[in-house]
C-alpha cells in the first residue's frame, strides 16, 4: 500500500462541511453494515445514507435509502454508478464480504472478487472521493515465518488450499483496491484489516467454532489468538468514515491468548488431533460438506496470525476498548446463557 501510505500523512479532517455528507454502504444488512447505518442515522453531519444489499436492513430507516443490488450480476456497476451520481455520494464503504467459509466457492468468488471490481468501477464513474474496504487478518495467512506481530506492510499470503478461495478472494479484493488507490491519487482509500470478531452476537467461523461443545485442536500446537469486539469494529469503521485516513490499518483488541487457554476459559473440551490425521479428516469432511471450514484453516490452529495495532493507535488514534479477556468473558457468558436455555 505504498501509494496509500503516502497520502496518509495528509489532513485528517472531514472533507466537506457539516450536514453535507452522503455515504453509500454495500453489504448493508450485515452486522457491521447495520451498525454503521445506525450510527450514521444519528449523526447530523450526514444527510443521507445509501444502502446496497439484497435485502433491506431489518430496522426502521429515516435518512437511509435502500437499493436492491446483486453484486454478482454483470452490469451492476453501471447501475450503482447511476445511483452514486444521483445521490451525490462522497464516501463508499464496501462491506459486502462473507464472514463465514462457504462451500459455494464460485458464488463467493463472484461476490467478493468480482463484486469489488464492480464497486470500484462504480466509484470511478462517480464522484466518490473516499473508499473504505473491510478486510480481515486472515489475509496475512498463518505461516511459520510470521513475526509475532504482523505489520501492515507484511505480504498477504493467505492460506494455500486448492479448493479454498475464501481467503484468496479477499486478498484479490485488497489488491484491486490497492491498484485503485494508485490510479486515483486524488481519492482517499482506507483498508481496515480486522481480527476475527467475537462477542455475544457474532456469527462467523471463529464464534461458530467456539460454540461447539468440543473444539478440535492440533496435538502439541497451541497458537496465540487475537480477537476484536464488534463495538470496537463499529467504532473503527465509523472513525474512518468520519475522518480521512488513507492507508491500511490493523484493527484488533489488545492482548493475545493461546487457543487452549481460551477453550479452558470457555469450559469447552478440546479434542487434540495429530496434524496428519486432522488434515485428512478435515479434507474428507469438507469435501463431503459435513464441516463448513476448509482443511487449510488448520494452519490457523498451528501458526500465529496476530496483528500489530500500533499504526492504528498512532495515526487513527484508535484504541480498542475491550481487551481479549473481556471478549472471552463475554463469550463465556453467551455460552453460559445458551446452556441455561437448553
Amino acid at each position: 500500500m505504498t501509494t496509500a501510505d503516502r497520502h496518509s500523512e495528509s489532513d485528517s479532517r472531514p472533507g466537506q462541511g457539516d450536514g453535507e455528507r452522503v455515504v453509500a454502504i454495500s453489504g448493508a444488512r450485515g452486522m457491521l453494515g447495520s451498525a454503521l447505518i445506525r450510527a450514521l442515522e444519528e449523526d447530523r453531519r450526514y444527510t443521507k445514507v445509501v444502502a446496497f444489499d439484497l435485502q433491506k436492513p431489518d430496522f426502521a430507516l429515516q435518512k437511509t435509502v435502500f437499493h436492491k443490488i446483486d453484486l454478482t450480476l454483470p452490469g451492476v456497476d453501471a447501475e450503482m454508478a447511476r445511483v452514486l451520481r444521483a445521490e451525490q455520494v462522497d464516501t463508499f464503504v464496501h462491506l459486502a464480504f462473507l464472514s463465514n467459509f462457504t462451500h459455494r466457492t464460485s458464488w463467493a468468488h463472484e461476490l467478493e472478487s468480482i463484486g469489488t471490481l464492480h464497486v470500484l468501477n462504480a466509484c470511478t464513474e462517480s464522484r466518490t472521493r473516499k473508499v473504505v474496504l473491510w478486510s480481515q487478518s486472515l489475509c496475512y495467512g498463518a505461516n511459520p515465518g510470521n513475526p509475532a506481530y504482523l505489520r501492515e506492510g507484511h505480504e498477504l499470503v493467505g492460506a494455500a488450499g486448492p479448493n479454498d478461495t475464501y481467503i484468496s478472494d479477499k486478498i484479490d479484493a485488497e489488491r484491486q483496491v490497492r491498484q485503485f488507490a494508485e490510479e486515483h491519487p486524488d481519492r482517499r482509500v482506507t483498508v481496515l484489516r480486522m481480527a476475527p470478531i467475537l462477542d455475544r452476537d457474532a456469527s462467523n467461523f471463529i464464534s461458530n467454532m467456539l460454540s461447539n461443545r468440543t473444539i478440535p485442536v492440533l496435538l502439541g500446537h497451541d497458537p496465540l489468538l487475537q480477537f476484536l469486539h464488534s463495538d470496537d469494529a463499529d467504532r473503527a469503521l465509523k472513525m474512518v468514515v468520519d475522518e480521512d485516513h488513507a492507508g491500511v490499518f490493523n484493527i484488533a483488541a489488545d492482548g493475545v491468548l493461546p487457543l487452549r487457554t481460551i477453550t479452558g476459559l470457555l469450559g469447552r473440551v478440546p479434542l487434540p488431533l495429530p496434524l496428519a490425521l486432522a488434515r485428512r479428516v478435515a479434507g474428507v469432511l469438507w469435501m463431503g460438506q459435513v464441516i463448513d471450514v476448509p482443511p487449510s484453516f488448520l494452519d490457523y490452529l498451528r501458526y500465529p496470525c496476530v496483528m500489530d495495532t500500533q499504526k492504528a493507535q498512532q495515526k487513527l488514534r484508535f484504541f480498542a476498548e475491550r481487551d481479549i479477556h473481556e471478549i472471552v468473558a463475554e463469550m463465556a457468558g453467551r455460552i453460559e446463557a445458551d446452556r441455561r436455555v437448553a
Binding site: 513475526p147 509475532a148 502439541g220 489488545d254
Partner: protein, 381 residues
C-alpha cells in the same frame, strides 16, 4: 576476565572494567559513553511505549521496574488475579436443593472442565505468550538442574544493566538448547534486578509440536528480527545464540570452537535499537550432550535438521535424553556499546556488520578459551 563491574552511585548505571580486548568496538572514552547514555533516555521507541501498551499488559516503566524487582512475572500474576475474580463464578449460595439442581443441570461439570484445563495455565499471557504459571511449575525442575545437577556458576552478571534494553550474545552448544534455560534461570535468580531474559528460539524448535509450545510458554520468543526489535524497544533483555543450528550440531571433537555467527543479524539489531551487546560464554554445556554423529537422512522426514547420536542417545532410548552432569560456568562479559561508535544508519552496512559480528565472536571465543584453560575437569570444575 570476569568483567568486574563497579556500581556508580546516583544514576544507577554500571561502569564496566573491560579486560577483554574488543579492539575498535570499544575504542571510545567514558565521557562519550555518558553522552550517549543521556541521548538514549529520549530515544523515540522509549517515549511512545506508554501509548502502545496503554490498555493491556504490564506497562514497563523503567522507574517502576527498578522499584519492583520480580518484574514481569509478578505483574502478570496480578493481572491474573483480577481475571480470576472476573471469571470464577460467584458462589450463589443456596441450600442443598439449589446445589443438587446445579449438579443435575451440569452446572458444576462446566466448571470442572474449566478447572482441569486451567490447572497448568494462567489466564493471562504476555504479548509473546509467556505463561507465569507454567514457569512456576517448571521452576523446581530447572532449579534442580541449575543448583544440583549442572552446579551452574554465574559470574559477571552485574554487567547486565538493572533496567533497560540489552542484548545477550552467547555461544551455543549441547544438542538440546539447555544453555538458554540455564542462562534465563541464572539471571532470574542471581541478578540484583532478577531480570527476565527472553531467549530467541530457532524456528524448527519454536514450531516443533509440544516442545515449541512449552518453550514459548516459558518465555522463548521466535528468532525473528521484528520480534527481537519489539522486545528491545520495550526495554527487555533478549538473548541470542548467533551460531544457531550450527552451534548445537557441531561434533564433540569441535567443542568450544565457535561457529560462524549467522549473518550478523544481532549486530544490525543492536544498531537499530541502540542496545548494548553483552557477550556471554557458556562452558560445560558441550559435555552435557557430547555429539558423536548426526544422521541427516532419517531426520529429513521429521522436520528436524538432524538426528543426534550421543553416547547415550538413541542407545538408551528416551533415557538417553538425560544430560550428563557436567559442571557449568556462565561468564557474562562487559557490555559493548556499538551504537556509540556507529550510527543507527550503519545497520545496513554489511561490511561493518560482519566485522563487528566477527569481533564479538572472537571476544566470546577468548572468554571461552580462558575459562577452559583454568578448568581442571569437565565434571568437577
Amino acid at each position: 576476565m570476569e568483567g568486574r563491574a563497579s556500581r556508580q552511585g546516583g544514576n544507577g548505571r554500571t561502569k564496566v572494567d573491560r579486560r577483554v580486548p574488543v579492539g575498535m568496538i570499544t575504542g571510545h572514552n567514558r565521557s562519550r559513553a555518558q553522552r550517549s547514555e543521556a541521548k538514549r533516555e529520549n530515544w523515540p521507541g522509549e517515549g511512545d511505549r506508554r501509548t502502545t501498551e496503554r490498555r493491556y499488559g504490564p506497562t514497563i516503566d523503567p522507574e517502576e521496574e527498578r522499584r519492583r524487582p520480580p518484574g514481569l512475572g509478578r505483574e502478570l500474576k496480578e493481572m491474573e488475579r483480577i481475571m480470576q475474580e472476573r471469571f470464577v463464578p460467584r458462589n450463589e449460595g443456596g441450600g442443598l436443593g439449589a446445589r443438587l439442581k446445579k449438579l443435575l443441570t451440569g452446572g458444576t461439570l462446566w466448571e470442572e472442565i474449566r478447572r482441569i484445563q486451567l490447572r497448568h495455565r494462567s489466564e493471562v499471557v504476555d504479548e509473546f505468550g509467556f505463561d507465569p504459571k507454567m514457569a512456576d511449575q517448571m521452576g523446581p525442575l530447572l532449579r534442580f538442574l541449575y543448583e544440583s545437577y549442572f552446579r551452574v556458576e554465574l559470574r559477571g552478571h552485574a554487567n547486565l544493566p538493572s533496567s533497560g534494553r540489552a542484548l545477550l550474545v552467547a555461544n551455543h552448544s549441547g544438542t538440546l538448547p539447555m544453555d538458554a534455560a540455564m542462562l534465563m534461570m541464572g539471571m532470574q535468580r542471581e541478578h540484583e534486578a532478577h531480570r527476565m531474559v527472553r531467549p530467541l528460539v530457532e524456528d524448527f524448535v519454536y514450531h516443533a509440536p509440544v516442545l515449541g509450545t512449552i518453550i514459548r510458554r516459558m518465555g522463548g520468543v521466535r528468532a525473528n528480527f521484528e520480534n527481537a526489535e519489539r522486545l528491545l524497544e520495550r526495554g527487555r533483555v533478549a538473548a541470542v545464540f548467533p551460531e544457531g543450528i550450527q552451534g548445537i550440531g557441531k561434533p564433540f571433537s569441535q567443542r568450544y570452537q565457535l561457529q560462524r555467527f549467522g549473518r550478523g543479524g544481532f549486530v544490525k539489531l543492536a544498531l537499530r535499537t541502540r542496545s548494548p551487546i553483552i557477550p556471554v560464554a557458556i562452558v560445560g554445556a558441550e559435555e552435557a550432550y557430547p555429539l558423536l554423529f548426526k544422521f541427516r537422512g532419517l531426520a529429513r522426514s521429521t522436520g528436524v535438521p538432524f538426528l543426534p547420536v550421543t553416547p547415550t542417545f538413541p542407545l538408551l532410548g528416551p533415557l538417553g535424553l538425560v544430560p550428563l552432569p557436567s559442571k557449568w560456568l556462565i561468564l557474562v562479559g562487559g557490555p559493548i556499546y556499538i551504537h556509540e561508535s556507529f550510527g543507527a544508519r550503519d545497520w545496513n552496512n554489511r561490511v561493518l556488520v560482519n566485522k563487528v559480528a566477527e569481533q564479538v565472536r572472537s571476544t566470546i571465543q577468548s572468554m571461552v578459551d580462558d575459562t577452559l584453560a583454568k578448568r581442571r575437569s569437565a565434571f568437577l570444575g
